[in-house]
C-alpha cells in the first residue's frame, strides 16, 4: 500500500506537467530553508536567518509589519475604488453613494479601505513608540529612524488627502480646518508673521496646497492625484528603502 502510494507520488512529481510548475522537490534541510527565502521574489527581502528574539511578538509588537499589511490592503482596495470614482465636484459624492448602494460589496470595499487607512495610522504610531522604547534608533540605525519619521508624515498625508475624496460635509470641513493653519506660516502664508507685502491669499503656501483660496473642485483633483498616485509612489519608494536598511543595519535590533 505504502509502496504503491510512493510510486504514485513519484509518478506525479516526475511528470512533465508537475516539473514545469515546481522546479524541485522540498527537502527538510537548512539549505532548503535558505533557498526558500533567497529564491522567492516576495521573500528575498528577508535574510535567510534572524536572531530568535526578533520572532518575539512582545519585542516588535509586529507593528511595522502590520503597517505594511495595512498599506497593501489600502493599495488593493484603493485600486478597486478608483474604478467607480470620478474626482470632480459634480460626480465625486454621487459616485461614493452609488458605490455604497448599487455596487456589489461596494460598501464593504469602502469600509475596508477606510478602516485599513485608520489602522495604518494607529499601527505606524505604535511602531514608532516601540522603536523608541527598545532604543532601536541608536547607531547604526539613525538614518532608518529618519526615513521612518518621513514615512510617518507620508502616512498622515496619505490619510489626510484621502479624507477629502468622499466630498461630503465631513470631508470638506475636516480638510478646511486642517489646511487653515497654513495661512499662518511665517513668511510664506498671507496671515503669518513676517509675510512680505506680495504674499497674498492667492499665492501663499495654502494656495499651493488647495489650488485655490478655499477648498474647491481643483482641490479635489489635486488631492485625488496626490492620494492615488504621487504619495503612494513616494511611500513605496521610502518603504523599500526602509526595509532594505533594516536588513543592511544588521536586522532587527537586539542587545548585542
Amino acid at each position: 500500500m505504502n509502496e504503491e502510494r510512493k510510486g504514485l507520488k513519484e509518478k506525479i512529481t516526475n511528470s512533465d506537467i508537475w516539473r514545469s510548475i515546481f522546479r524541485h522537490g522540498y527537502e527538510d534541510t537548512g539549505r532548503r530553508y535558505t533557498l526558500q527565502v533567497l529564491q522567492n521574489v516576495w521573500l528575498h527581502l528577508h535574510p535567510p536567518r534572524i536572531s530568535r528574539h526578533a520572532l518575539n511578538f512582545r519585542f516588535t509588537w509586529c507593528m511595522g509589519g502590520i503597517t505594511f499589511l495595512m498599506f497593501l490592503v489600502t493599495a488593493v482596495t484603493g485600486v478597486l475604488l478608483m474604478f467607480y470614482y470620478r474626482p470632480t465636484a459634480e460626480y465625486a459624492f454621487h459616485d461614493v453613494q452609488y458605490l455604497e448602494f448599487d455596487i456589489p460589496f461596494g460598501m464593504l470595499l469602502r469600509n475596508m479601505h477606510r478602516w485599513a487607512a485608520h489602522g495604518m495610522v494607529i499601527s505606524v504610531m505604535l511602531h514608532m513608540f516601540r522603536v523608541f522604547l527598545t532604543g532601536s534608533y541608536k547607531k547604526p540605525r539613525e538614518f532608518n529612524w529618519a526615513v521612518g519619521v518621513i514615512l510617518l508624515l507620508v502616512t498622515f498625508f496619505l490619510s489626510f488627502t484621502g479624507y477629502l475624496l468622499p466630498w461630503d460635509q465631513l470631508a470638506f470641513w475636516a480638510v478646511t480646518v486642517g489646511t487653515n493653519m497654513a495661512r499662518a506660516t511665517p513668511v510664506l502664508g498671507h496671515e503669518g508673521p513676517f509675510a512680505p507685502q506680495d504674499i497674498t491669499q492667492s499665492n501663499d503656501v495654502r494656495f499651493a496646497l488647495l489650488a485655490g483660496t478655499i477648498v474647491g473642485p481643483s482641490t479635489l483633483l489635486r488631492f485625488y492625484i496626490l492620494h492615488c498616485v504621487a504619495v503612494p509612489l513616494l511611500a513605496s519608494v521610502l518603504m523599500a528603502l526602509h526595509f532594505w536598511r533594516v536588513r543592511k543595519d544588521g536586522g532587527i535590533s537586539g542587545p548585542l
Binding site: 469600509n111 477606510r114 516601540r130 547607531k139 519619521v149 489626510f160 477648498v215 537586539g254
Partner: protein, 288 residues
C-alpha cells in the same frame, strides 16, 4: 452625556477608542519586559547568537499575524460602515469643525498658541526633533531591549511627548471639545450658544504693565529668559558634569532648545487655566 456617547460611537472615532486600550496595553507589555531586564540584566551573548531560519519560523509568524489582522479588519468593515454625510456645502459650517482625529492634538494646541506657532512652528519642530533624536541621544546603552534604568531621561521625555502631548490631547480634542471648541465634560450637554467670557489677559498686564512698548520688552525678556535657562545651566554645570562634556555644546544647545520648547506647551496650558494668561509676549509682529 448623549453628545459624549455619540462621539464615542461615531464610526470615525473607532481608532481613538481602540487607542485608549492599545496604548495602556503596550505600555504594560513593555514595562514588564523593562522591569525584567533591569532586574536580571541584559541577556548574555550566548543566548543572542541563537539564530533561526526565516522560513519557516518568521514567515509562519507573519502569516498568522496577517490572518488575525485581516480577520479583525474584516469584522470591523462588516460591522461598521464608513461615514458619509450630506454633500459638501461651503456655506454650512458645522460647529465644531474638527480635523481628522490624528491631527486633533495639533488643533488642540491652537487653543493655547496662535496658528503660526501651533500649526506651523511646533509641528515643524516636532518633525525636526524626532529626526534629531538618534543624533542627540548619545547614550549607547539600552539598544535593542526594553529598559528603564539605563535611559530614564530619554524615556521620560519621549513618553511625555508621545503619551501626554500627542495621544491625550488627541483624545481630549476628539471627545471633550464641543461647539466653539469649548471644553465639555462627558456628562455635560453641548450648548451651542455657550459663551465663555473672554477674560484672558496678557502676562505683562498681570505684572501691571500697561503701555505697549514696555509690554513688548517685558515679553521679550520673559521668553528670552526662559530659553536662556539652557545655556545658563550649561555654564553652571559643564565643568563638573561628565555627561555635559560628552554631549558637547552643539548637541546640548539642540537638546535644551527642543526640551524647553516642548515644555512650553504644558507651561502655557497651566498659565492659561490657572491665571487666564492669553499671551506671554505681545509684539507688533507676532504674539506668543
Amino acid at each position: 452625556m448623549e453628545h459624549f456617547i455619540a462621539l464615542v460611537t461615531k464610526p470615525d472615532n473607532v481608532p481613538i477608542v481602540a487607542i485608549l486600550f492599545l496604548i495602556p496595553y503596550f505600555i504594560y507589555l513593555s514595562y514588564r519586559q523593562a522591569r525584567q531586564t533591569d532586574k536580571t540584566g541584559v541577556p548574555s551573548d550566548a543566548a543572542l547568537n541563537d539564530k533561526v531560519y526565516v522560513w519557516p519560523y518568521l514567515c509562519r509568524n507573519e502569516f498568522i499575524c496577517a490572518i488575525i489582522v485581516m480577520l479583525v479588519l474584516g469584522v470591523w468593515s462588516i460591522m461598521i460602515d464608513a461615514p458619509l454625510e450630506e454633500p459638501s456645502d461651503p456655506t454650512k459650517t458645522p460647529n465644531p469643525s474638527k480635523a481628522p482625529w490624528y491631527f486633533l492634538a495639533l488643533q488642540e494646541m491652537l487653543v493655547y498658541f496662535d496658528p503660526w506657532i501651533a500649526g506651523v512652528v511646533l509641528p515643524g519642530l516636532i518633525i525636526a526633533g524626532l529626526i534629531a533624536i538618534p543624533y542627540i541621544d548619545i547614550n549607547p546603552k539600552g539598544k535593542g531591549y526594553y529598559t528603564i534604568k539605563e535611559r530614564p531621561f530619554a524615556l521620560a521625555v519621549f513618553s511625555f511627548g508621545f503619551i501626554i502631548l500627542w495621544i491625550v490631547l488627541m483624545v481630549v480634542g476628539t471627545f471633550l471639545r464641543g461647539p466653539g471648541w469649548n471644553f465639555f465634560a462627558p456628562w455635560e450637554a453641548w450648548d451651542p450658544h455657550l459663551v465663555v467670557p473672554l477674560t484672558n489677559v496678557n502676562l505683562s498686564y498681570l505684572f501691571g504693565i500697561r503701555d505697549a512698548d514696555t509690554a513688548n520688552f517685558f515679553g521679550f525678556v520673559v521668553v528670552a529668559g526662559y530659553f536662556a535657562i539652557g545655556p545658563v545651566f550649561y555654564l553652571w554645570k559643564h565643568k563638573s558634569s561628565r555627561f555635559l562634556q560628552e554631549l558637547g555644546l552643539v548637541r546640548y544647545i539642540i537638546v535644551s532648545f527642543l526640551f524647553l520648547t516642548m515644555l512650553a506647551l504644558p507651561i502655557k496650558m497651566i498659565l492659561r487655566v490657572v491665571l487666564n494668561v492669553k499671551y506671554i509676549w505681545v509684539s507688533p509682529w507676532f504674539n506668543i
